[in-house]
C-alpha cells in the first residue's frame, strides 16, 4: 500500500479570476470513484499519485473579496502549498497576486510551495499581463508558474503536478512506521494557537 500524504492547498486570488473553476476542473476531470464529501466548490479533495506516494490534495478556497482579505490567514495557516490565481486579462488581479505573495512570505507557513496560475489563457487576445512578466516574477520569488484555462482544461493537471514535485519527499526514517504522515500537521499545530 502506498502511503497517502494529505496536502492542504490554499487558493488565493481576486474574485472572478476563476479560482474555484480551476479546482472544479482539476477535481472533475478525473473520474473519481471514491467521491469524498465536498463543501460545494469551496472545499474539495483529490488524490493523485506522485512517485511512490499518493498525494491527497485538500483544497481550501478563500473568498476573494477585498473585505475578507484579513480573514485569509485562518485559511492558509498550515498549508503545504498555495495556488495564487490571477486573470491574464486583468492587470489588477496580478497586482493582488503580488500582495498575496508578499503576505505569504511574511506571515504564511514556512516552506510553503507557491504556485502562480494565470487563468483564462484561452482569452490571450485580450491579455493584459504578459507571460514574460509573470515568469520573471515567479522566478524572482521561486514559485511555479503556469498559464491555465479552466474553461479548456489547459495546464490544470500540470499545475498540481508541479506542486506535487515541489513537495519534499517524506523523510524515509519517518516513513518506517508505515503511518501516513501528514505534512503540515506539525506546522499547523505549532501555529494554531494564535487566537
Amino acid at each position: 500500500m502506498m502511503a497517502i500524504r494529505e496536502l492542504k492547498v490554499c487558493l488565493l486570488g481576486d474574485t472572478g479570476v476563476g479560482k474555484s473553476s480551476i479546482v472544479c476542473r482539476f477535481v472533475q476531470d478525473h473520474f473519481d470513484h471514491n467521491i469524498s464529501p465536498t463543501i460545494g466548490a469551496s472545499f474539495m479533495t483529490k488524490t493523485v499519485p506522485c512517485g511512490s506516494e499518493l498525494h491527497k490534495f485538500l483544497i481550501w478556497d478563500t473568498a476573494g473579496q477585498e473585505r475578507f482579505h484579513s480573514l485569509a490567514p485562518m485559511y492558509y495557516r498550515g498549508s503545504a502549498a498555495a495556488v495564487i490565481v490571477y486573470d491574464i486579462t486583468k492587470q489588477d488581479s496580478f497586482h493582488t497576486l503580488k500582495k498575496w505573495v508578499k503576505e505569504l512570505k511574511e506571515h504564511g507557513p514556512e516552506n510553503i510551495v507557491m504556485a502562480i496560475a494565470g487563468n483564462k489563457c484561452d482569452l490571450s487576445d485580450i491579455r493584459e499581463v504578459p507571460l514574460k512578466d509573470a515568469k520573471e516574477y515567479a522566478e524572482s520569488i521561486g514559485a511555479i508558474v503556469v498559464e491555465t484555462s479552466a474553461k479548456n482544461a489547459i495546464n490544470i493537471e500540470e499545475l498540481f503536478q508541479g506542486i506535487s514535485r515541489q513537495i519534499p519527499p517524506l523523510d524515509p526514517h519517518e516513513n518506517e512506521n508505515n503511518g501516513a504522515i501528514k505534512l503540515g500537521k506539525q506546522t499547523m499545530q505549532a501555529s494554531r494557537r494564535c487566537c
Binding site: L11, S20, A41, S42, D61, R67, F68, L71, G78, K185
Partner: protein
C-alpha cells in the same frame, strides 16, 4: 431453706398402672409392624415376653436403690443442709450441697421411673416389649442424671464441703454416728465422719452402676441377636460401662484436685480455686521444662493452663491455647495470644503424654462439656480447631496493652474478622491477619479533648493504614485518599470543614504524611489558589497562584515563599515581570507592560500604606505589543508536564491492573464507592455488608472483565464504555470520578481563570488518553484470565484515533462545565464584540442584510415568494435560510466536538439546498459566495459565546480532521465570527 419436710415419695408421679395398659395383643402386633419386623419372628417374641430372671433382678435392684436414696436423703443430705452460712465459704458450701441434693432427687426420680417401667413390663410381659424399659429406651437420659450427680458430688469433694459441714455441726453428727452406722448397713466405716459421709454418698451409686452393668451384660448375652431390643441392650450396656469409667476418672480428678488445693499455698489457691475446676496433670507428677519462661511448675486444669514461676502465676485460658502439631524431638510448641512456649521433657513418653493431655484439654474446653467417657475418648475429633472465635484482653505492655480483642483467631493470633477495643475508647473493627489489622477496618480514636473521635475508614496492611481511606478528624477535617504505612501517601484530598473559620482544601500528592509533589491548595479565607509543586509540606518549586480578584502569579517557590523572578498578570491585563516578595508584591528591578503597550521599567518597592511605588522609565513610544499576549497568556504550560501531573490518581489504577485486578484489592486501590458521607457514618453497618461485598467484588470484577471481552467491536465498545464511565462502581467510572474531583479542585471557583485554560485543556486530553490506557489494561487482564492471546500494542495513530474518536466524547461531558467556563472567560472580549455585531445585524431586515453582506442577488431565496413588497418584508423577515439557521443553533445542544462539527456540516448542506432550490439546479458554491451567506446565517443564529465554542471545538477536535472538511468548516465559522466582530459590522442599517 431446709427441704426436710419434703416427703420424697411424693416427689414422684408414677403413672397409674391401669392407664398404660392397652389390649395386649394389639399392641404387640402394632409394635412388631411398626418396627418393620415380619410376623415370622413371633416365636422369639414369645420367649422374650415371658420375662427373664435378669429383669426380675433389675426390678429388685431398683427397688433397693430407690429405698437407699430415700434413706440417704433423710439421714445425710437433709441434715447436711441444715447449715447456717456465716461466711462466703460456707455459703458456697451450702450451695454445692443443695445442688447435690437436687441431683440426688433427680436420681431417685429416674430410678422410680425405671422401676415403674420394669413393673409394667413384668405385669404384661406379652404386651410390653423389653424396649419399653427406661434403662434401655431412655438410657441416655438416665446416664445424664447420673453424670449430673457425679458432677455435684465431685464438686463437693473438691471443695471439702462435707468436712466443712460436719465441722460446723460436729455435735450433731457425733450424736448421729451410731444411727447412721446402723442405717447404712454394709458400708465401710473407716476414717472420720466426713469421709464416711463422702463414702455414703458415693458408694451406693458406684455399686448400683456396677450391678446395672453385670445385669445388662447377661441380658445382652441371653437375648437373641435379631431382636430390636438387642441393640438397645447392647447400647445401654456400653453406656453404663462407660459411665463406670467416667465416674472413676471424675473421682480421681476430684481427689487429685482436692489434694492440690490442700497443698497449695493459700495465695495460689485463692488465685486458682473454683469449685468446678479439675486438675488434669501436674508437673510434679510428670516433670516438664518450659522455655523460654522458666516455670518451676505446670498445672493443667480442665479450663486453664497454669505456669508457676516464683511468685508469678501465669494463667492461660485453654480456649486460646494452640498446640503446634509440628514437634521437634522432645519439645512441643504452645501458642497463646501473648506468649509462646516450648514444653519439653527428659523422657519422650512424658512429653507425648503432656502434649496429648493439653491437646485433649483444649478440645474439651472448646467443646464446653466433659469428654465422655474419658478425656480424649469419644466421638468428637481429638484435634482442636486452628480457627477459633474468642474474646481476649491483652495484658503485656505495648500497643495492645489492656485492649480487648473479640473475634476470630488463628494459631494464637487475631486473624479474620474482629473488634479490638482499647480502654481509652479507641476501637478498631475490621479484619485482622497474624495479629495485625489487615484489610478493611474502621478505627475510632478519641480526641484528647471533648467528646470527639477521629474516624479512620481505611484499608490496612500489617497493622498500619495502607491503600485508600477516609479519615474524619473530629468534625474539623476530612482526608480522603491513599495511605502507606499509616501516613498519607500518594493522592489525597484534605479538606477542613466548610464552616471552619479558615477553610482550606488541598488536592494533590503526599509523601510520608506531607504534601509533596503536584498539588492544589485552595485557601478560601485568603481567596487564593495555589497550583504547583510541594515539598515537605511547603510550596516548593514552580507554582502558580490565582486569586479571587483575578490576579495571577507565576514563579518559583522556596519553602512556601515565592522567590526570584516571576510574573504577575493583573485583572486589567497588565503584566508585571520582576522579583516578588513573600506577600506577592513586586520589589526590586522589574518591568510593567500595560495593556495599551506602555512599559515601565525600573525599580519597584512597597511600603506600609503607600502601595506600590516605582522609579523608572515609562516608555510611551513603544509599539503596542500584540494585545493578545497578556490577555491570552497561559500559565503553567510546560512547567507541570501533563503526563506526570496526576500520577497519584493513575498510579493505583495501573497497580490494580498489573496485579491482575484482584477483586479484594479494588477498594484499597481504587477507593470506596461512596454515595453519601452519611452512608459511611453508619460504620458498623458498612462493615456488616463488607464481608458479602468482598465476595461480591471478586464476582463483580469477573462480570466487568467479561463484559469488556464481549463488547469489543466499535459500536458495542462505545456503549460499554459509556456505561462503565457512568457507573461509579466500575473501575473506569471510579477513575473518572477521581479525575473529575481533581479537575474541579483546580479549575472551579477561584481556579476559573482564563489564564488556566491551557492547563485545563491539555489535562482533559491527557485524562482521555489515560482512560483509554486504563481500558486497555483491563482488557488485557480479561484476556489473560481467559487464557486468550493478548492484544497487540497499539501504534500511536491507532491509539490517538480511539482516544479522540471514542473516549474523549464520552468523558468530555464530565469536565465540560469547568472547561467551557475557562474558554468563556478567555474569549470574553471577542465574544462581547461579536455580541455587539450580531445585535447590530439583527436590526437589518433579511433583504437589507443580504445586500449589506454583498450576497449575490441571484442567490437570495426570495423567488418563490410572489407577494407585494410590504407583505414580502414582513414575511421574509427571519425567514431566509431559516433551516440553516435553526440547524446551526443546535451546535450548543451537544458537548461532543464531533457532533458539533456534524451540525456545521448539516448547516452547510441546508444552505446549499436552499441555494439549489432558488437557482433551480444544483449549484456548487465557491467561497466567494459561501462566506457571505455563512456570515448571514451565523449572524441570524445568534449563538452566544460562539468564540468559546469555536476554540473548544478546535482544541478538542480529533487531529485526524486537521486540514480536512471539518477543519475547513470550523475555519469558515471562525472567519465569520471574526468578521462579525469587525467595526464595519457595527454600522446601522440604512
Amino acid at each position: 431453706m431446709s427441704p426436710a419436710h419434703h416427703q420424697l415419695p411424693r416427689l414422684c408421679f408414677p403413672p397409674q398402672p391401669g392407664q398404660l395398659t392397652p389390649e395386649p395383643q394389639t399392641v404387640s402386633t402394632r409394635e412388631r409392624s411398626s418396627l418393620g419386623r415380619s410376623p415370622l419372628s413371633g416365636p422369639e417374641a414369645g420367649t422374650l415376653a415371658m420375662g427373664r430372671p435378669e429383669e426380675a433382678a433389675l426390678l429388685q435392684l431398683e427397688e433397693v436403690f430407690s429405698a437407699t436414696l430415700a434413706r440417704i436423703d433423710s439421714l445425710v443430705l437433709q441434715p447436711l443442709l441444715m447449715l447456717e452460712p456465716t461466711d462466703p465459704q460456707s455459703r458456697e458450701c451450702l450451695q454445692l450441697l443443695q445442688q447435690l441434693r437436687k441431683s440426688s432427687q433427680q436420681l431417685w426420680k429416674v430410678t422410680e421411673e425405671s422401676l415403674h417401667s420394669l413393673r409394667e413390663r413384668l405385669r404384661h410381659p406379652d404386651a410390653i416389649g423389653l424396649e419399653s424399659l427406661l434403662l434401655l429406651d431412655g438410657a441416655d437420659r438416665v446416664l445424664q442424671v447420673y453424670m449430673e450427680y457425679i458432677e455435684s458430688y465431685t464438686s463437693c469433694v473438691v471443695t471439702q464441703a462435707f468436712q466443712k459441714a460436719v465441722k460446723k455441726r460436729s455435735d450433731y453428727w457425733r450424736s448421729r454416728q451410731k444411727a447412721l452406722q446402723q442405717q447404712l448397713w454394709g458400708m465401710t466405716s473407716e476414717g472420720s465422719m466426713d469421709t464416711k459421709l463422702a463414702q455414703v454418698l458415693c458408694q451406693p451409686l458406684t455399686r448400683h452402676v456396677q450391678e446395672y452393668v453385670s445385669l445388662l451384660r447377661s441380658l445382652r448375652d441371653t437375648a437373641g441377636e435379631h431382636r430390636p431390643a438387642c441393640e438397645l441392650v447392647a447400647h445401654a450396656t456400653t453406656l453404663f460401662e462407660n459411665l463406670q469409667s467416667f465416674m472413676r476418672q471424675a473421682l480421681d480428678q476430684a481427689v487429685a484436685t482436692q489434694g492440690l488445693w490442700r497443698t497449695l499455698s493459700s495465695r495460689l489457691r485463692d488465685a486458682l480455686y473454683t469449685p468446678a475446676r479439675r486438675l488434669l496433670q501436674d508437673s510434679q507428677d510428670m516433670p516438664l521444662t518450659v522455655t523460654p519462661l522458666r516455670a518451676e511448675r505446670v498445672l493443667l486444669f480442665d479450663d486453664i493452663l497454669v505456669l508457676l514461676q516464683g511468685h508469678n502465676v501465669h494463667t492461660f485460658d485453654l480456649k486460646l491455647v494452640w498446640v503446634d502439631s509440628e514437634q521437634n524431638g522432645c519439645v512441643f510448641h504452645l501458642l497463646t495470644p501473648e506468649e509462646e512456649f516450648f514444653f519439653g521433657s527428659k523422657y519422650r513418653q512424658d512429653q507425648v503424654v503432656w502434649q496429648w493431655k493439653i491437646t485433649q484439654a483444649v478440645c474439651q474446653a472448646l467443646r464446653g462439656k466433659k469428654d465422655f467417657p474419658l478425656l480424649g475418648a469419644g466421638l468428637e475429633s481429638s484435634k482442636p480447631p486452628i480457627c477459633r472465635s474468642m474474646a481476649y484482653t491483652f495484658l503485656a505492655e505495648g500497643r495492645l496493652c489492656q485492649a480487648t480483642y473479640e473475634g476470630e483467631w488463628y494459631q494464637g493470633r487475631p486473624h479474620g474478622k474482629g473488634t479490638l477495643k482499647w480502654p481509652n475508647g479507641r476501637n478498631h473493627v475490621g479484619t485482622f491477619c497474624q495479629g495485625l489489622e489487615h484489610g478493611f477496618g474502621i478505627c475510632l480514636v478519641p480526641q484528647a479533648s471533648e467528646d470527639k473521635f477521629d474516624c479512620y475508614k481505611c484499608h490496612w496492611r500489617e497493622g498500619s493504614m495502607c491503600g485508600y481511606g477516609i479519615c474524619e478528624y473530629g468534625i474539623d477535617e476530612v482526608y480522603k485518599g491513599y495511605f502507606q504505612e499509616g501516613l498519607r501517601h500518594g493522592f489525597g484530598v484534605l479538606e477542613s470543614a466548610q464552616q471552619a473559620p479558615q477553610h482550606c482544601k488541598y488536592t494533590g500528592h503526599w509523601e510520608r504524611g506531607q504534601r509533596d509533589g503536584y498539588g492544589i491548595q485552595e485557601d478560601s479565607d485568603r481567596g487564593e489558589l495555589y497550583i504547583g509543586l510541594w515539598q515537605a509540606d511547603q510550596r516548593h518549586g514552580p507554582g502558580v497562584v490565582v486569586t479571587q480578584a483575578g490576579v495571577c502569579y507565576q514563579g518559583t517557590f522556596q519553602e512556601d515563599k515565592m522567590v526570584g523572578p516571576g510574573i504577575l498578570l493583573s485583572e486589567d491585563d497588565s503584566l508585571f515581570e520582576g522579583t516578588f516578595t513573600r506577600d506577592l508584591t513586586l520589589v526590586g528591578k522589574g518591568k510593567v507592560t500595560f495593556p495599551n503597550g506602555f512599559t515601565l521599567e525600573g525599580s519597584f518597592g512597597s511600603g506600609a500604606g503607600r502601595g506600590l511605588h516605582a522609579q523608572g522609565v515609562l516608555d510611551t513610544d513603544a509599539l503596542p505589543p500584540d494585545p493578545s499576549s497578556t490577555c491570552y497568556r497561559q500559565l503553567g504550560l510546560g512547567i507541570f508536564p501533563v503526563e506526570s501531573r496526576w500520577q497519584g490518581v493513575y498510579g493505583p489504577f495501573r497497580d490494580f491492573v498489573h496485579t491482575g485486578c484482584p477483586g479484594d484489592l479494588q477498594e484499597a486501590l481504587l477507593g470506596f464507592h461512596v454515595q453519601s458521607s452519611r452512608e459511611l457514618r453508619k460504620s458498623q453497618e458498612y462493615l456488616c455488608c463488607e464481608s458479602t461485598q468482598l465476595d461480591d467484588s471478586a464476582g463483580r470484577m469477573e462480570d466487568i472483565l467479561e463484559e469488556l471481552l464481549q463488547h469489543r467491536d466499535p459500536e458495542a465498545l462505545q456503549k460499554c464504555l459509556r456505561k462503565a464511565l457512568s457507573n461509579s462502581l466500575h473501575p473506569l467510572g471510579k477513575l473518572l470520578q477521581t479525575l473529575m474531583l481533581t479537575f474541579q479542585a483546580t479549575y472551579a471557583g477561584i481556579g476559573a481563570n482564563k489564564h488556566l485554560q491551557g492547563l485545563a485543556q491539555e489535562e482533559v486530553k491527557q485524562h482521555a488518553q489515560e482512560l483509554w490506557a486504563a481500558y486497555r489494561g483491563l482488557l488485557q487482564v480479561a484476556l489473560q484470565r481467559k487464557g486468550q492471546a493478548l492484544e497487540e500494542e497499539e501504534d500511536t495513530e491507532a491509539r490517538d484515533r480511539r482516544v479522540h474518536g471514542l473516549v474523549l466524547p464520552l468523558m468530555l461531558p464530565s469536565f465540560y462545565s469547568e472547561l467551557f467556563t475557562l474558554y468563556l472567560l478567555l474569549h470574553e472580549r471577542e465574544d462581547s464584540h461579536y455580541s455587539q455585531g450580531i445585535t447590530n445585524l439583527s436590526l437589518f431586515p433579511d433583504t437589507n442584510l443580504l445586500e449589506f453582506l454583498d450576497v449575490q442577488k441571484h442567490l437570495w431565496p426570495l423567488k418563490d415568494l410572489t407577494l407585494t413588497t410590504n407583505q414580502r418584508h414582513s414575511l421574509v423577515k427571519d425567514k431566509c435560510f431559516l433551516s440553516a439557521i435553526e440547524c446551526l443553533q443546535k451546535v450548543i445542544t451537544t458537548m461532543d466536538p464531533r457532533e458539533k462539527l456534524e451540525v456545521l456540516e448539516r448547516t452547510y448542506r441546508e444552505i446549499e439546498a436552499t441555494v439549489s432550490r432558488v437557482l433551480g439546479q444544483e449549484h456548487k458554491l465557491p467561497m466567494d459566495d459561501l462566506l457571505p451567506l455563512l456570515i448571514y446565517v451565523v449572524s441570524r443564529a445568534q449563538i452566544q459565546h460562539l468564540g468559546a465554542e469555536i476554540h473548544l471545538i478546535r482544541d478538542m477536535m480529533d487531529p485526524i480532521h486537521t486540514g480536512g472538511l471539518f477543519d475547513f468548516l470550523l475555519t469558515a465559522l471562525e472567519s465569520c465570527y471574526e468578521h462579525i466582530q469587525k467595526k464595519d459590522m457595527h454600522r446601522s442599517p440604512r
